[in-house]
């Protein structure tokens, strides 16, 4: 079993735990791969109301301080678009994921 902070790789039954419990926390389970559309904040238009931060269902928007625009955590954001929908000044764009 390859077990690093970044990823866990399992060969098969011989190196698996018996129990179907996760081997680590969400640090190993980057859910961003589910994303098709990516929210991008136009910081010049952002009024720092943090409504997007409150609404994000995955807690994938980080709050630093009141004077800094929120930061989207692209490791976990699944691209649901709730932030863009809720933004009162429409400063969040959902853009095509480049992969």
């Amino acid at each position: 079993m390859k077990h690093s902070k970044k990823e866990i790789k399992i060969k098969g039954a011989s190196d698996m735990p018996e129990m179907s419990a996760s081997l680590g926390s969400m640090a190993h389970n980057k859910t961003a791969s589910w994303r098709n559309l990516k929210p991008v904040i136009d910081e010049s238009k952002c009024i720092k109301c943090f409504i997007c931060w409150k609404f994000c269902p995955d807690a994938a928007i980080d709050f630093t301080d009141e004077n800094t625009p929120p930061k989207i955590n692209y490791d976990y954001c699944k691209g649901c678009g709730i932030c863009a929908h809720e933004c009162p000044v429409k400063c969040i764009d959902m853009v095509e994921e480049e992969r």
Binding site: I10, G12, A13, M16, P17, E18, M19, S20, A21, S22, L23, G24, S25
Partner: protein, 385 residues
């Protein structure tokens, strides 16, 4: 200390001596006395377990799964319809690899409504991943609870300790209740490798893709296989400490026997008297009691009855559309056996608590002995036509 106690109370003492930490249970005849006594034991301070009254057997096992997953030694008990209601959670307990021990009092399934014994309730849970131990007396019931934890906590699979309704549950006999300090030496506190812990958060039982699900199942089977060795080893170790040895099967006067009776639970106990009686009359008969049904002791069965002249299986159960379940499995053990396969006679007797007396067993033996081969796959004993 030797005490005259009911089979149900032997379960309660087994749980007490195993220092169980949680008990969540719902009462059902003939299991009720187990739970009553355990609630007394927790109320009067004999046991430090947390006793949870739940609203159903499904909840009883759900609660037990939760406490076991968080690292507690968890216990519950049920019977019949109650076991059926918790069926979904039986899969959960085994799949989550939790070393829960549960007593099930074998009571036949309704309808017709019944409180008397047969094995169809527990055998319907055959494929859930639980180990199953069928007991023949109250002493074995008490000892098997302790042994259940000892084995389960090594192989991470739950154990069902099974006793016949009334013939054990409500029958009192002398039981040696070991000193808890001695039991402590045999059964140290439970230390799980992985448990639910707020300081080490993980997700449990989450969505499992086809990539790894099969491997989890493979590992359950691997543990079941390993359990055979562990049960045998711990049964011997228990014998050294407490003077009572337990294995996967129990042989009685089989060495030079040409005809072997295969039975389980209290029927096997009663059968010993019949074997003695027939031996006195010069007949070479012996008894193989299947104590552990899961994991199934294929090798032991083949070793004991392979090459014998005749094998007779008594089932207090039926797989509708097939045969008696023990009979089916004993036969199955022989398909790839290259030695001499004995003809096998599968009798069904004692369903719904009908008494399997020494006379009934003797008649079965005599019937099979006089025949070359069985006239059908099921030989019904005592059915009124």
């Amino acid at each position: 200390m030797k005490k005259v106690i009911l089979g149900d109370h032997a379960v309660s003492y087994g749980a007490l001596l195993s220092r169980v930490q949680t008990i969540a249970a719902y009462p059902i005849t003939p299991q009720t006395l187990i739970i009553e006594r355990l609630s007394e034991m927790t109320a009067n301070g004999e046991s430090n377990a947390i006793f949870t009254k739940v609203e159903s057997e499904h909840s009883a096992m759900a609660s037990t799964v939760g406490s076991s997953a968080s690292g507690a030694r968890a216990f519950t008990a049920t019977s019949s319809q109650g076991l059926a209601l918790m069926h979904e959670m039986l899969h959960w307990a085994a799949g989550a690899r939790l070393p829960i021990v549960m007593a099930n009092v074998n009571r036949a399934m309704a309808p017709g409504w019944t409180i008397w014994t047969d094995q169809n309730d527990s055998l319907s849970a055959r494929d859930t991943g639980w180990m199953q131990i069928y007991c023949q007396n109250n002493q074995e019931v008490l000892d098997s609870i302790i042994l259940g934890y000892k084995v389960s906590e090594q192989v991470n699979l739950p154990t069902m300790v099974i006793l016949d309704a009334f013939f054990l549950s409500h029958t009192a006999e002398g039981v040696d209740i070991p000193d808890i300090k001695e039991v402590d030496k045999f059964l140290p506190p439970y230390k799980p490798e992985i448990k639910m812990d707020i300081n080490d958060p993980r997700s449990f039982g989450a969505l499992t893709s086809p990539d790894v699900y099969m491997e989890f199942r493979y590992k359950m089977q691997e543990s079941m296989d390993k359990a055979k060795e562990v049960i045998t080893r711990e049964g011997k170790e228990f014998g050294k400490m407490f003077g009572r040895k337990y294995g996967l099967v129990e042989e009685y006067r089989t060495e030079d026997a040409d005809t072997i009776l295969v039975a389980s639970a209290t029927v096997a106990s009663t059968a010993r008297a019949v074997i003695d009686e027939m031996r006195e009359a010069g007949q070479k008969v012996g008894l193989l009691r299947i104590r552990v049904f899961r994991p199934f002791p294929t090798e032991e069965i083949v070793r004991v009855i392979g090459g014998k002249k005749k094998v007779i299986v008594i089932d207090r159960n039926i797989s509708f559309g097939k045969t008696g379940i023990f009979f089916d499995e004993v036969k199955g053990a022989f398909y790839n056996y290259t030695g001499n396969k004995p003809p096998m006679f599968g009798y069904i007797a004692g369903l719904g608590g009908r008494d399997v007396t020494p006379k009934v067993i003797r008649e079965i033996m005599d019937d099979a002995i006089k025949k070359d081969k069985p006239e059908s796959e099921i030989l019904w004993k005592g059915v009124k036509l």
